[in-house]
């Protein structure tokens, strides 16, 4: 059964009247209501989830080349920066207790300005109960959608669009949450929805799913039977009781029957032989806690067993658990996980002895074996509570084709996992209204996998998972917190004409600091915590307060001055012998990469000494042998046939792109290699954006016939990466870029910079040759990698099977 109306109705209505007077902070909870449309609502037994679609006007920095005739008047400036209003689409999901539903509806009615919305899509057991209220308050027609259909639609959506959506729960591990990488193909999977009953649904594609089974023993059984046994009314309280109890006084264990355990033979005495088996024979009283615990085990084990039986029958290994029984409760996630682990292993070993040889043979191919045998993993979802609302929303928004776009979780506007978990903060949950939010931005571009990833399903962009690495987490959180002052300063400086920019910058400071604090306590809040996620969160927060591109002016200045040295730099390179030149080109890229405002050590130097020059940077570079040094192999390779096509992920603007990367690109073109330059779609730190790069390249082309010919013959192509991050996720790349890369038979991928080649992709394995170049501009990281500040990583890799394997 899906979640259904199971509220202790007396209880709910009491709250209902009591909480009417709550005042909602409009700029924090129901944001962007003015332009909201396509409302959808999922009313469960205790929580309401509201969804709507809004258009967000926010400022974006645009660069525009001065046209030729006006060039003189523009003075030195290379291009014009303008801040423009841009409209993007955003999905808002808000979760709150049913008690606040009336207040919330009033609030929405008051703030809804301009909408032609006529209907509200509704799902969940409570939709029926609140139908009249919805229609009266919002003057919208309630259009009821099937619960399970909504659930599945929502599940598909989050699995496809939110990286690190699914996780494995391991109570006793260093990190309780082990987030899963997004699978290129999310189907097929099993969804076990534990509402008041249990529904087991097999999902085979976007529209094809089937309820293959279920059980009446579910959350309602825990709640109903638990309330009878313990005289405890609330579900959350029952779970709390259970977490404190000892089931062994109520359950009959193997050792109660056999007198002991048979550890040496694999049968432990602690296994439950009969749930509640002891309460039948003794006259004694049992504590509420113990009974609740026994009940929790009984139900979790039973559900886990059925899930395994169904997974085995349908040969599925991905099993997602949801429903109010699970919803963010560590207690139930733990017992369900335990049960699944127990039964999946029990089933693997239950093969007849005659099949033993198969197991032995398969041992060699361990992964295949597990796959074939169908070891089931219990998976949970970060946004499980929103699935119904998301699905209902998608049903209502079909004409906007939301599934045609890629969406991204907005870290600034989303609360993160466990924001209202009763276990984290029971009093808060019980006493006041807590609102949990999820916001998703429609991305301009559709994002797909880079086909050159060796194994897309096991690709993890991030090098260090800070969720698991506590010292690294400490360091980076401190680092980002310390850098905050500088970021605020620069944000204000980027908008000198706007009076309220100081105020906005302070709001930004407050918000980002709050995020950092949350992440200190709950590093798992947005999936695996990584340097990338910290950087992205900062970008989202900056955008939130309309600082679309704090570095725009700095970038402009640096680009201007670097361009002046371009021809000189190229000339001096041409004077070198071939072999000297190859080395100088690499050193140029590396030295250019030292110019990076994103790295703290460097931004200090840049701030204090603007004259810090290219030559100076070269002197700072570590001498060979570098920390990671495969230059000899690279040189050797260059003596061979030219590459067909190189994909180059560029990093910073200014010296980096103009004096470092462009000469390198020029050399590739001269060798007969086509080049695809991939740069960010949107701004991030001082990284060069695609818009800026277009203009820069034009200017360089005007000075350099090699570049000009490359552009003209379409052998040099500039394409946006789809990203607005200082890091790089090769599984979420602009679809056009991915297509061009494939069409051109790209056989070399070059990734430059700390964010893209060290924080991310350091361990990424590609099916073609790859070159990762970066200078470590952070002493802590350098130390960790066994180097020192300005150590060089030059990692040239050839896939197993040789460089020629992918030549065609």
């Amino acid at each position: 059964m899906a979640e259904c109306s199971q509220a202790d109705s007396g209880d709910a209505s009491r709250h209902h009247t009591m909480d009417k007077s709550i005042i909602l902070p409009p700029d924090e909870i129901f944001r962007n209501l003015e332009n909201a449309k396509r409302f959808a609502i999922d009313i469960g037994g205790s929580l309401t989830k509201l969804a709507y679609y809004s258009t967000v006007q926010h400022k974006v920095a645009k660069v525009r080349s001065f046209d030729h005739s006006a060039k003189e008047a523009a003075g030195d400036k290379l291009y014009e920066i303008s801040v423009q209003e841009e409209v993007t689409a955003r999905l808002h999901f808000i979760k709150f207790e049913n008690a606040y539903i009336e207040t919330c509806l009033d609030f929405i009615k008051d703030h809804l300005v301009n909408t032609d919305t006529k209907v509200i899509k509704a799902t969940g057991g409570g939709a029926h109960k609140f139908k009249e209220l919805l229609e009266r308050k919002l003057r919208l027609k309630v259009d009821k959608e099937d619960e399970m259909t909504c659930l599945i639609k929502g599940c598909n959506f989050v699995l496809r669009n939110i990286p690190h959506e699914a996780f494995v729960y391991a109570k006793h591990a260093d990190s309780e949450f082990r987030f899963q990488t997004t699978q290129p193909d999310i189907f097929p999977y099993l969804l076990v929805n534990i509402g008041s009953g249990v529904s087991i649904v097999k999902v085979e594609s976007e529209d094809k799913f089937e309820r293959i089974g279920g059980s009446s023993i579910g959350g309602g059984t825990f709640w109903g039977l638990g309330a009878l046994l313990t005289k405890t009314k609330r579900f959350d309280e029952l779970l709390q009781l259970a977490s404190k109890g000892q089931h062994t006084s109520v359950d009959m264990l193997v050792k109660d029957i056999y007198g002991g355990s048979y550890g040496s033979l694999g049968l432990t005495g602690d296994l439950i032989a009969s749930s509640f088996g002891k309460s039948a024979t003794a006259d004694k009283e049992f504590s509420k806690e113990d009974m609740a615990k026994s009940l929790l085990h009984m139900i979790s084990n039973d559900i886990g067993q059925l899930a395994c039986l169904y997974a085995k029958l349908h040969q599925l290994s991905r099993v997602y658990f949801g429903g109010f029984f699970i919803r963010g409760h560590p207690v139930t996630m733990h017992t369900i996980t335990y049960s699944i682990n127990f039964f999946t292993k029990a089933m693997l070993t239950s093969s007849p002895k005659t099949d033993v040889h198969i197991a032995v043979v398969s041992h060699i191919y361990n992964e295949t074996f597990l796959c074939v045998q169908g070891e089931v993993q219990a998976l949970f979802l970060r946004h499980e509570g929103y699935l119904g609302a998301i699905g209902a929303f998608l049903k209502g928004a079909e004409e906007d084709n939301p599934n045609q776009y890629s969406w991204g979780e907005n870290y600034a506007g989303s609360s993160g996992l466990m924001s209202i978990s009763p276990e984290m903060n029971p009093m808060q949950r019980a006493r006041s209204g807590t609102f949990d939010m999820l916001e998703m931005d429609r991305l301009e571009r559709q994002l797909v996998n880079l086909h050159l990833l060796q194994d897309p399903s096991s690709y993890i962009p991030d090098t260090v998972d800070l969720t698991e690495d506590a010292p690294a987490r400490e360091y980076w959180l401190d680092c980002f917190e310390e850098a905050l002052d500088g970021v605020v300063k620069r944000a204000v400086a980027s908008q000198p004409d706007m009076a309220e920019s100081v105020e906005r910058a302070e709001k930004f400071r407050h918000k980002y600091r709050h995020k950092l604090q949350t992440l200190r306590h709950q590093p798992f809040a947005y999936g695996s915590l990584t340097v990338r996620s910290l950087l992205d969160t900062r970008e989202h927060c900056l955008n939130e307060f309309n600082f679309p591109d704090p570095y725009s002016k700095i970038k402009q200045k640096e680009n201007d001055s670097a361009l002046k040295y371009y021809q000189k730099a190229v000339r001096s390179l041409e004077e070198l012998s071939w072999e000297q030149r190859q080395f100088a080109l690499v050193r140029g890229v590396l030295a250019g990469n030292v110019f990076d405002w994103g790295a703290k050590a460097v931004s200090d130097v840049l701030d204090s000494d603007p004259e810090f020059g290219f030559e100076e940077a070269k002197r700072q570079l570590e001498e060979r042998p570098w920390l990671v040094d495969s230059y000899d192999q690279w040189l050797q390779r260059l003596k061979g046939r030219p590459h067909k096509c190189a994909l180059f992920f560029v990093d910073n603007s200014g010296v980096d792109i103009i004096l470092g990367v462009m000469p390198f690109v020029r050399e590739l073109l001269s060798r007969g290699t086509e080049v695809v330059l991939a740069s960010n779609s949107g701004p991030a730190l001082n990284d060069v954006t695609n818009g800026e790069l277009q203009i820069l390249t034009e200017r360089i082309a005007a000075m350099d016939p090699v570049i000009q010919a490359g552009l003209k013959d379409d052998r040099l192509t500039l394409i946006q990466s789809g990203s607005s991050s200082p890091c790089l996720d090769l599984s979420r790349l602009d679809k056009v870029l991915a297509m061009v890369v494939r069409e051109r038979h790209t056989d070399l991928v070059i990734i430059e910079g700390m964010g893209r080649a060290i924080h991310t992709n350091y361990y990424a394995t590609l099916s073609c040759e790859s070159l990762k170049m970066a200078v470590i501009k952070n002493s802590w990281l350098a130390d960790r990698l066994g180097g020192k500040l300005f150590s060089v990583v030059f990692k040239y890799e050839v896939p197993a099977g040789g460089a020629h394997a992918n030549a065609v």
């Binding site: 057991g125 039977l225 009969s274």
Partner: protein, 452 residues
């Protein structure tokens, strides 16, 4: 009637010859491998490997002999050579010490010669008299007179097989009695199975000077079950099923024999539940188990209603209505949930109505007892059905004392198997529900003394 009688005679003769053909080596092997009934996960994990219980049991060496007619011939030949000489001394007991109940079978010889009568020691006589002249022992012991097998031939002797049960809690009393009656002087082997054979082994030795021959409970269960099916039930078949299980009006009990019993899914519902896939007498595996069994029904009933016995709990359940406790599909959707083909009358959430305080405060004990029974039974049915499908077995045999005087559950199981499998699966039941382990243990006694 005559016809039935002749069947029994024939079967009886066969059974008298019956012996189990696995040697001591297998016994020790199985005795360890097999676990308790219904062993399940405990979330307070202490690590370790708990998964070995599922190993399929293949008896090597003598495997071939046990299958098909050559084995029977072999048994016949060997019996005539050895039974008389190696027949164990009386008394003949088989005991199954479970988590809740102790099941005891006692073979009362009725062909005692005058010579034997004279030789019979006094306390052997008194044991026989005590057991056969009473139907209740102490406060809690009961002889199921209606299950008695009369004029049965075992190991060349004719007698009656008695079925006795008492709570496992009374085990200390029982051991004490064994000491009082000086049972150890009879030099008999006490064959015992079930977890209690291990748990109470030391007590038997220390307090009553008795050495138990411990036997694996699943081995005994299968052996006992197949034997009982072969000998029949005083002229009637041991086995039955429900005709028209999906129709409460025309649903009738129908007797049958397990002519060709393999493969079968054997669901043993004691305190917990074990589910076995049985391919032959000696080839089976424990597929899975669940901790939601008879012990759970009684345990929850005691807590919810204050009742004290299984009989009381069932009595209450028979008068109750579970739909006042359980939330049905129609309670949520107003009718059938058509999108998923669920009938409105299907249970959506067991105890689902009990989430609301008002309903909790007004519910009757009878309704609670009924809901508990229905919940546990449906769950067992559901797991059994899944196992049957996964193992590709169509015959599902339900045994165990949970089914004693429990027609609510047997009919519900029969219905569930039939309905959810669309008639593919058939639920079968046996008259001696929970006694097969004890019978299997007795058979081991009759076998052990053959080969000195």
């Amino acid at each position: 009637m005559d016809k039935a009688k002749s069947t029994v005679d024939k079967k009886g003769t066969t059974s008298g010859l019956f012996r189990v053909n696995n040697g001591p080596s297998q016994r020790s092997y199985n005795g360890h491998i097999n676990g308790c009934v219904g062993a399940l996960a405990s979330a307070s994990s202490s690590g370790g490997n708990q998964y070995e219980t599922n190993t399929r049991h293949m008896h090597r060496g003598d495997n071939v002999e046990c299958n098909g007619s050559p084995a029977k011939k072999s048994r016949l030949r060997r019996r005539t050579e050895s039974t008389r000489r190696h027949r164990p001394p009386f008394p003949w007991f088989g005991m199954d010490i479970g988590g809740t109940l102790v099941k005891l079978v006692y073979f009362e010889p009725v062909d005692i010669t005058a010579e034997e009568e004279q030789e019979e020691v006094e306390n052997l006589k008194s044991i026989r008299r005590y057991l056969t002249s009473n139907v209740a022992y102490g406060k809690t012991g009961v002889r199921d007179v209606h299950l008695e097998l009369r004029n049965l031939t075992m190991c060349g002797r004719t007698g009656n097989l008695h079925f006795i049960r008492f709570p496992t809690q009374a085990m200390p009393l029982f051991i004490h009695m064994g000491r009082e009656k000086n049972f150890s002087s009879l030099h008999t082997t006490l064959c015992a199975t079930g977890g209690g054979a291990y748990k109470f082994e030391d007590d038997f030795r220390a307090l009553a000077n008795l050495e138990l021959l411990k036997l694996d409970e699943l081995d005994c269960l299968i052996r006992g079950l197949l034997f009982m099916d072969r000998v029949g039930f005083n002229g009637h078949p041991e086995c039955y099923y429900f005709h028209n299980p999906s129709d409460t009006q025309s649903c009738v009990k129908q007797q049958c024999t397990l002519d060709n019993p393999f493969p079968m899914l054997l669901v043993n519902i004691g305190s917990g539940v074990s589910i076995l896939a049985v391919y032959s007498e000696d080839d089976y595996k424990r597929v899975t188990g669940t901790s939601l069994g008879g012990g759970t029904f009684l345990g929850l009933c005691c807590l919810l209603t204050g009742c004290e016995t299984f009989e009381e709990a069932l009595e209450m359940a028979s008068k109750g209505d579970s739909t006042n406790v359980d939330k049905l599909v129609k309670d949520i959707y107003g009718g059938d949930y058509e999108r998923f083909g669920l009938q409105g009358s299907a249970v959506a959430s067991s105890f689902g109505h009990m989430m609301g305080k008002e309903k909790r405060d007004t519910i009757s004990k009878e309704d609670l007892a009924r809901a508990t029974l229905v919940t546990i039974t449906n769950n067992i049915g559901s797991i059994a059905r899944m196992c049957a499908v996964n193992e590709k077995i169509e015959r599902v045999v339900f045994v165990g004392n949970f089914l004693r005087i429990n027609t609510v559950s047997t009919k519900l199981l029969a219905y569930a198997m039939d309905f959810w499998s669309k008639g593919q699966l058939r639920a079968l039941f046996l008259e001696h529900e929970g006694y097969f382990g004890a019978v299997g243990a007795l058979m081991e006694l009759l076998k052990t003394t053959e080969d000195p």
